[in-house]
Each structure stands twice: as structure tokens, then as C-alpha cells.
């Protein structure tokens, strides 16, 4: 029997969805019924920890016996008994369930700064964060360093905003520090809305105190005594953990009046967003906190001059704030040792799509796309690599011949994409680029606030053109119209949403114009995705007459006798692809 047992169960939203709560419960039961709990006593702990990135392998469980860590993957409640009996009690790890090389490869090339404590600390316990050096930054700054010194430190670290635009954080703080004002505000933008992005959610779920600590330092620097976290209401777990963390920080004296006896006071309020993507835009976010409809306004004046209720305001993203305590404790030089000349530090990405290892990754700025996809991501899941979409609906696609590109602010901008908030969707040869562009346009059109004409009506027209192209009704001149209108929308829209909304179209036309041309001129979808242009046929030679396809067909379009080749009635076929997916003999042909 070991002397100390520590069990850490991944309980981010991903982990809980995979059944982590039930796994934790079983551990409680098994540890008590096997007597481990009683014999190890206070040295037996069970922690829920935040996401460590590899969500695809959830539920992930660390079993740490006398300091020796074994990580299990895909754990279900009924597997717990064997782990406790064989591993914890008898000291023989259950090798079948231990993580494989993939897990180690996934982490090997990552450099974790903001995620360094995610998956390690218990997000609902401030002492867990403190035991790993948490709140040391606040302690070393408040009362001991001048705000100017700290701003200088952030400036020299080279930290740039992680929310999309990449504005230098220290400079932003300096702008807000300068004006005299009776009131200033600091806001954490946790209105993460890009489809497929979950960086900010995971940071708050996994280590909320790092965000609070970063905000407190920011508030100290600019002279704000009020702060807001504007967070999506669709992130209930993050909201819950954030609220617990705020309560604990206040109790511990890191928030509230007269922090650490320095005379500096700072309070944070949580403001729930009502699900509008545009509220991630800083001026719309401010309007929303003020109780108005979330619509952006023109800049200048910038929020650092006139922000919330007309007062100087700093708005930074979750990841940006989370970097701050680490920069303060480990030093700006340490931070700027990662990354490229102009893009310092690391960046968290949500790696998704047709890749083997999906999840949350943190890499130094400037790592090549190839390393990310093949070393960390483990390469393609099935198909052939085609492109990567970065930066979500404001971003663009990077084609396969540019796979050696470095992922940093400048390099991605050069090829027509952006780092953005960190979405990274890997596409393979079964993805239609026109359809991908359409997906993002549908999103931005739906989320346009309606204030300015080019975004409100223009994106609708872009979408209509894409609709007809994917429906096989594209006309010659449509590509040119998309390019002209797209450019006009970029040049004339009010805020970042409209100014970037055409990017997915413009970049796919730039690199995959032939696909657009095939749709329009040949009425053919090269990736065989766009339904209207698809024809499913059954290959007579390959069909064994197993009837599975006929059973799967929702429109009774497939007929044939048992053990004889079947046929599809094209008039009845709704092109759902059920037959294609069901057939075990590759007898259904799609083109």
C-alpha cells in the first residue's frame, strides 16, 4: 500500500461530458471500500482538475502514488475498480489503459505557459493554485513595484493581445494609465465565440485564479478599482468556477478593499453575455455591459481613452491576462525567449478537424504548421491533408503547399489568414472549400449586429452567391462578384466582424479557385460534398445484395433483391449519403 495517493481527474466541460463525475464518484467508493482511504488518510486526495488539452482521450485520470504518476485514458466508471485494486492496492498499473505514445507525442513539443497549471491545479481550490506559486506575482507587485515598472515589464516581455488583433498589451495599459480620471475599468473579454474555439473556456475552467491575478495586476497598473469579466452564459462551468475563485480570492485578501495592506482596492464583477458573437468586439462588449444592445461604435475614441461609461478602460482577452502572472514571476526575458522576433511567448490553439489528436495545445509562436499537425496532432486521421483554417470566421485557409509556414501574427497575416483567438481546423480532401467558406459566412451573417450596411446586407449577398454556387446554380462572374463585394465589405464595414467576414471566401478563392470554377463551370464538387451536385450510384460488380443500404435509405430510393445488385432511383434519392456510409463493400459510388 502506497503512503500517498493523489488522483486527478480531468473535469473540464469535455471531461464531464465524457463521464468524469461518475468516475470520480467510483474512485471515492472504491478507495473507501478497499480501505485505501482509511490507511493513507490525509495523504489520499482526489482532485478534479481542468482540461489538460487532450480532450479526445477523456476521461483522463492521473494516479500519483508516492509521487509517481501514471496517466490513464478513456476511463469509464466500471474501469475504476480494477485500477484501484491492481494499481493502487497492489502496485501494478493497468497497462492496457495507460496512455499510449500518442499522448506523450501530443505533449512533447508543446510549451505550456498559461496551460502549465491547467490539469495540475484544482480550479475550485485557491490553495492548490498557491501551492504552485499562485498569487506570488500579485504579492511581488502590489506595494513593492510602481505601476510604471510593471507596465515596462509587460512591454519588454513583448506580450501581445491573444484575442485576435495582437495589440501590444503593455502599450494598451500605458495608454489607459496616462489619462487622469476619477474612475477606470479593466475588463476581461471571455466572450469566446469562434466556432470550435475553447481556449478561454478551458483556461477559466482549469485555472481561473491565473486570470484573476492577471486582471488584478492590470488594474494596479492602470489605476482601476473595478473590473468585469464578460463571459458567455453558455459556459456554466467556467462561470461557476470563476465565481468560486473570485470568492476565494476575496477571502484570501487578493481582491477587495486594501489588498495586502497596500491601500490598493480592486473588485471584479461577473457579467454574463447573452450569446451574441459581436459582443466579443470590445466596443460592443462595453455597450453590452452598459445595458445597451451589443453594437460596436466607431474608434477613435479607443476604450483606453473613453471606454466603459466613458472612462478609460482596458479590455484584454482571457489568455492575455492569464499570461501576466507568469511573466511577472518568471520575468519578461523568460517569456520573450519563446516565440519569434515580433510574436513573443506561446499561443493556445484549439486543434480540431480531420486530425488524429484533437484538443487544446499551447505552442511557442513561430512553430511551423507542419510540426503542429504532424508532431503534436499526430497527422491526418484518414484523408489527405488539404488545408488549415485558422482564426475562425475572421480567418482564412492555408493550403497544403504552405505547410512549412510559421504560425505567428506576421506570417499568417502575410498569407491572408490570422492567428485570431486560436481556432485551427485541419481539412482533408473530403472537405469542399466552397462549403467551408459558406459555413463561416453563415455564421458571420447570422451574428452581424445589423448596424452597418456592408456587413448586414453585404454578407447576406455573399452567402446567397455561395449558396447558389454550392447548389450548382453558380453563374460565370460569380467569383469576380465575390471578390469585389468581399473587398468592399472589408473596406467599408464598421467593426472587426464585418472587416474580416469575407476572409474565408477571399482566401479560399485565392488558393482554391479551381474548386470554385469546378462548381460554377462544370457543376461539379471536386470533394464530393455539395449535395446538389452529387450522384450516388451502386457499382453492380461490387454490390453483394446485402440490402443494408436499402434499409438505411430514408426515402426508399434503393431497390433490389437479396444477394443481387441493388439500384438507386435518382428521382427519389435525397443524397443523404446513408447508403455510402452503410455499405461494407465500397459498392456505393459518389461523384
Amino acid at each position: 500500500m502506497p503512503k500517498a495517493v493523489d488522483i486527478r481527474i480531468c473535469m473540464g466541460t469535455g471531461g464531464i461530458a465524457a463521464g468524469a463525475s461518475a468516475v470520480l464518484e467510483r474512485f471515492e467508493e472504491e478507495l473507501s471500500s478497499t480501505g485505501v482511504g482509511a490507511s493513507v488518510r490525509e495523504n489520499c486526495s482526489r482532485h478534479n482538475v481542468g482540461c489538460r488539452g487532450f480532450c479526445a482521450r477523456d476521461v483522463l485520470v492521473d494516479v500519483i502514488l508516492d509521487g509517481e504518476r501514471t496517466t490513464y485514458q478513456y476511463i469509464k466508471p466500471d474501469m475504476v475498480q480494477r485500477i484501484v485494486e491492481e494499481h493502487i492496492v497492489s502496485g501494478n498499473p493497468v497497462e492496457d489503459w495507460v496512455v499510449t505514445d500518442d499522448y506523450h507525442n501530443f505533449h512533447e513539443k508543446q510549451v505550456k505557459v498559461v496551460l502549465s497549471d491547467c490539469g495540475e491545479v484544482d480550479p475550485e481550490d485557491i490553495n492548490s493554485y498557491k501551492s504552485r506559486g499562485g498569487y506570488k506575482a500579485v504579492e511581488s507587485v502590489i506595494g513593492s513595484k510602481t505601476p510604471e515598472d510593471v507596465i515596462e515589464m509587460i512591454k519588454s516581455s513583448g506580450l501581445r493581445g491573444r484575442g485576435g488583433a495582437g495589440f501590444p498589451t503593455g502599450l494598451k495599459w500605458e495608454f489607459a494609465r496616462k489619462p487622469e480620471s476619477d474612475q477606470k475599468y479593466i475588463i476581461c473579454n471571455a466572450d469566446e465565440g469562434d466556432p470550435g474555439a475553447f481556449m478561454d473556456r478551458s483556461i477559466i475552467e482549469g485555472n481561473p485564479h491565473s486570470v484573476i491575478e492577471g486582471m488584478t495586476i492590470g488594474a494596479y497598473c492602470i489605476g482601476a478599482d473595478k473590473g468585469y469579466v464578460y463571459i458567455r452564459a453558455e459556459y456554466p462551468l467556467a462561470v461557476k468556477r470563476l465565481r468560486i475563485a473570485l470568492e476565494q480570492a476575496k477571502e484570501a485578501g487578493y481582491l477587495g478593499e486594501n489588498i495586502l495592506g497596500s491601500g490598493f482596492s480592486f473588485n471584479i464583477k461577473v457579467k454574463l453575455g447573452a450569446g451574441a458573437f459581436v459582443c466579443g468586439e470590445e466596443t460592443a462588449l462595453i455597450a453590452s455591459i452598459e445595458g445597451q444592445r451589443g453594437m460596436p461604435r466607431a474608434k477613435p475614441p479607443f476604450p483606453a481613452q473613453q471606454g466603459l461609461w466613458g472612462k478609460p478602460t482596458v479590455i484584454n482577452n482571457v489568455e492575455t491576462f492569464s499570461n501576466v502572472p507568469y511573466i511577472v514571476t518568471k520575468g519578461p526575458d523568460w517569456f520573450s525567449s519563446f516565440g519569434t522576433e515580433k510574436s513573443k511567448g506561446t499561443k493556445v490553439f484549439a486543434l480540431t478537424g480531420k486530425i488524429r489528436n484533437t484538443g487544446l495545445i499551447e505552442v511557442p509562436m513561430g512553430m511551423s504548421l507542419k510540426e503542429i499537425i504532424y508532431d503534436i496532432g499526430g497527422g491526418m486521421e484518414r484523408g489527405e491533408f488539404k488545408a488549415v483554417q485558422t482564426g475562425g470566421p475572421s480567418g482564412g485557409c492555408i493550403p497544403k503547399d504552405m505547410i512549412d509556414i510559421n504560425v505567428d501574427f506576421e506570417s499568417l497575416a502575410k498569407v491572408g489568414s490570422i492567428v485570431g483567438s486560436g481556432g485551427m481546423v485541419v481539412l482533408d480532401d473530403t472537405d469542399c472549400m466552397v462549403n467551408i467558406a459558406k459555413f463561416f459566412l453563415e455564421f458571420t451573417q447570422r451574428e452581424s449586429c445589423g448596424k452597418c450596411t456592408p456587413c448586414r446586407v453585404g454578407t447576406k449577398r455573399l452567402l446567397e452567391i455561395l449558396d447558389r454556387v454550392t447548389e450548382g446554380k453558380g453563374k460565370s462572374g460569380d467569383i469576380e462578384l465575390l471578390l469585389t463585394l468581399g473587398q468592399d465589405i472589408k473596406d467599408s464595414s464598421l467593426c472587426g466582424l464585418g472587416q474580416t467576414a469575407p476572409n474565408p471566401i477571399l482566401s479560399t478563392i485565392k488558393y482554391f479557385r479551381d474548386e470554385y470554377e469546378a462548381h460554377i463551370n462544370e457543376k461539379r464538387c471536386p470533394a464530393a460534398v455539395c449535395k446538389a451536385m452529387l450522384t450516388y450510384t451502386i457499382l453492380e460488380d461490387a454490390c453483394k445484395g446485402c440490402t443494408l443500404c436499402a434499409k438505411a435509405c430514408p426515402s426508399d430510393a434503393i431497390s433490389g433483391e437479396k444477394k443481387k445488385p441493388h439500384v438507386i432511383d435518382q428521382g427519389l434519392c435525397v443524397k443523404c449519403g446513408a447508403c455510402f456510409d452503410t455499405c461494407k463493400f465500397k459498392a456505393v459510388h459518389k461523384e
Binding site: 477613435p300 452581424s448 456592408p454 446586407v457 447576406k460
Partner: protein
């Protein structure tokens, strides 16, 4: 007032007030920049994007209505790129507009129509889905035809910024964005009609004047509102010898703002009960008389009452519909002329 500064607009050096926006400075210096969402009386908005201009040193075109002037600024109000963007914006608006100018009340007085004319937009590269609404308010004043709305937001802003009511707001998102009362209920506000007065298209109009004549056919007569002592300036729109609408110009004492009575309450002009001359009751029956006769009659009666019962037997009650000057004269008449302090005013009742 801010200091005066020098800026250059379209190559011409002009000296302007430093507190202005580029749009205000350009207009005051005689340059035309098209807009749909701007009104000098409202806060800058930057929604329609038509007032985009090029400013030296700024990489992107910016909206003139939201950009403050700075000393030495070099502004270009028009160039090929700017005109291309403006044209696209107007074309986009027209692609989602009923384009039924033939039957629209606002034809000839519509900013969108003017813009379409200016850019010669007959065909449209962007024809597509059009918003369809069936708006039928029960109120007797304001007619809403939201298919014609260009989302300039003026109505929303005047309601909040000037009137302090906030009866309408933009709802929904994207292409479906729509100005409406909360939960799309019927309009239930003060019916001041400021929104109607600012609408650049036919989206908002007065039910009373709908279908009664277009701007080019009306004769405009300036007058002063008779309802209260404020003395708001009115412009009567007269067609076929009938007042069909009341409006007010922005450069008046009331800055163009009116109350529901001033804007919509003009039907009494046509009332058969309207008094056109003084009446005196003779033998139990009211008879029309001349002003001379009426004044003589009142003067004699007041004189005889004062003589018989003393001045305190008389009291004067004045009206809020009179101006300050008229009220002053009236109390002077009662106090000095009649000799009593029995004078009061309906606003105290």
C-alpha cells in the same frame, strides 16, 4: 468653443472649429458628403457607411461623421475607391428595398432615392432575398413600413437621446435586424413623431398624410404652433387648399422637434366648430359679432362691474397657450388696469 484649426478638404485649405467632426467641418465649408444615418442633432453613429472619406495617414477609409477634425488634417471626400464603396453600399440597400417609388409617399423627398439617382443605379448586381414584413399598428399616428427601413437608426436614437423614451430598438441580428418596439408589440409610445420626422425613406410616416400628396405638390407655409406658449415653429404642408401635414425645420427655435399635438393635432383646422369670429349671447342665443363690438361689450361690462362692486369682484384667469409676453400683458391689465390682484393661470390648476 474649441480653437479654430486649419484642415485641407479636397485640396482646399479651410479654417474650422476644432470641436467638429470631419462631416460637420466639410458641410460648413460647403463640401457635400452623402449620408443616411447622420443628423447634426444626434450623436455620431457611423452606421450607414456612406460618409466614408480618405484621410492622409490613415490606411482605411473612415466615416466622416464619427471622426473628429485635427489640425493639419488632409481629407479627401471623394475618389475612385470611396465612390466604389458608396456605390456598393447604395446598391446593397436597394437590393433589399421594395423599390416601389411609383407609389411611395416619399418619392421626391427620399434620401435613398436621391442616392440611387446620383449613382445611376437601375440594375443591381446583388438582387436577392428581400425582408418581408406585415406591420400593421393600431395607433392612429405612425405608419411603419419596415421593408423600406435602411437601419440608419435615427428613429431609435432620437427616441432615446432627444425624447428620452426608448420605445423602439433594433432587434434581431444580421439580415433580419429590424427596428421595432419590444417583443414586436404594437407601437405604444408618446407618439411625438420625432422618429417620423427623421426617417430618410418611406419606412416611417404619418397615417394622417399617407396618400394625400407628395412633397413636390405641397405648398409650405411657415407658422407658429397655437397649442402652448413654447411657440414652436411649424411648417404647414398644404395641398389642394388643405393642410395635409405638419413638420418643423431643424433651424428653428424648437430645432425641428414637435410634440404629438403640434405634429399630429391639426385636424381642428377643418372643424365646423372652429370659432372664426367673437360671439355674444343676444336673447339667449350666441351671435357672431365683430372684434370691435366684442371688445366694446367686454370693456363696458368690466367697467360697470368694477363701478358697482369694486375691482376685487373681478378675477382674471390666463392660459398656458399664451406666450410669456401675452401673459405679462394680461396680469398687467388685471392688476394695473382693473386694479385687483385676482389673477391666476391655468397651469396652476
Amino acid at each position: 468653443m474649441a480653437d479654430r484649426i486649419n484642415i485641407t478638404i479636397d485640396g482646399e485649405k479651410v479654417n474650422v472649429d476644432g470641436g467638429l467632426t470631419v462631416l460637420q467641418a466639410a458641410r460648413r465649408s460647403g463640401f457635400h458628403i452623402p449620408t443616411l444615418c447622420d443628423d447634426d442633432r444626434l450623436k455620431p453613429y457611423g452606421g450607414c457607411r456612406l460618409c466614408l472619406v480618405s484621410i492622409e495617414g490613415i490606411p482605411r477609409p473612415v466615416t466622416a461623421c464619427t471622426t473628429p477634425v485635427t489640425d493639419g488634417m488632409v481629407v479627401e471626400t471623394s475618389n475612385d475607391h470611396i465612390e466604389r464603396l458608396r456605390r456598393t453600399i447604395v446598391e446593397l440597400l436597394l437590393s433589399d428595398h421594395p423599390n416601389d417609388c411609383m407609389t411611395c409617399d416619399r418619392a421626391g423627398d427620399c434620401t435613398l432615392q436621391e442616392l440611387a439617382y446620383f449613382y445611376g443605379l437601375r440594375d443591381n448586381r446583388f438582387w436577392g432575398e428581400r425582408r418581408r414584413y406585415e406591420d400593421d399598428d393600431l395607433n392612429p399616428f405612425i405608419k411603419r413600413d419596415m421593408e423600406k427601413c435602411v437601419l440608419c437608426g435615427k428613429c431609435v436614437r432620437v427616441c432615446r437621446e432627444v425624447q428620452g423614451v426608448g420605445a423602439i430598438e433594433i432587434s434581431y441580428r444580421g439580415f433580419g435586424a429590424k427596428v421595432c418596439p419590444p417583443y414586436e408589440r404594437d407601437l405604444n409610445c408618446e407618439f411625438c413623431g420625432q422618429c417620423v420626422s427623421l426617417c430618410p425613406t418611406g419606412a416611417l410616416s404619418g397615417k394622417q398624410w399617407s396618400g394625400k400628396g407628395r412633397e413636390k405638390d405641397v405648398k409650405k407655409i411657415k407658422t407658429v404652433c397655437p397649442y402652448c406658449g413654447c411657440g414652436c415653429n411649424l411648417t404647414l404642408h398644404v395641398s389642394r387648399n388643405e393642410v395635409i401635414r405638419v413638420s418643423s425645420e431643424p433651424d428653428t427655435i424648437n430645432e425641428g422637434w414637435l410634440c404629438p399635438k403640434g405634429r399630429f393635432g391639426y385636424e381642428f383646422i377643418k372643424s365646423p366648430d372652429l370659432l372664426k369670429s367673437p360671439l355674444i349671447r343676444k336673447n339667449g342665443k350666441l351671435e357672431e359679432v365683430t372684434w370691435d363690438e366684442a371688445l366694446k361689450f367686454v370693456s363696458e361690462k368690466l367697467g360697470s362691474i368694477k363701478e358697482k362692486y369694486g375691482p376685487d369682484a373681478i378675477g382674471g384667469l390666463s392660459s398656458a397657450r399664451c406666450t410669456n409676453e401675452e401673459n405679462y400683458l394680461f396680469q398687467k391689465f388685471i392688476r394695473a388696469g382693473i386694479g385687483t390682484n385676482n389673477v391666476d393661470h391655468c397651469a396652476r390648476l
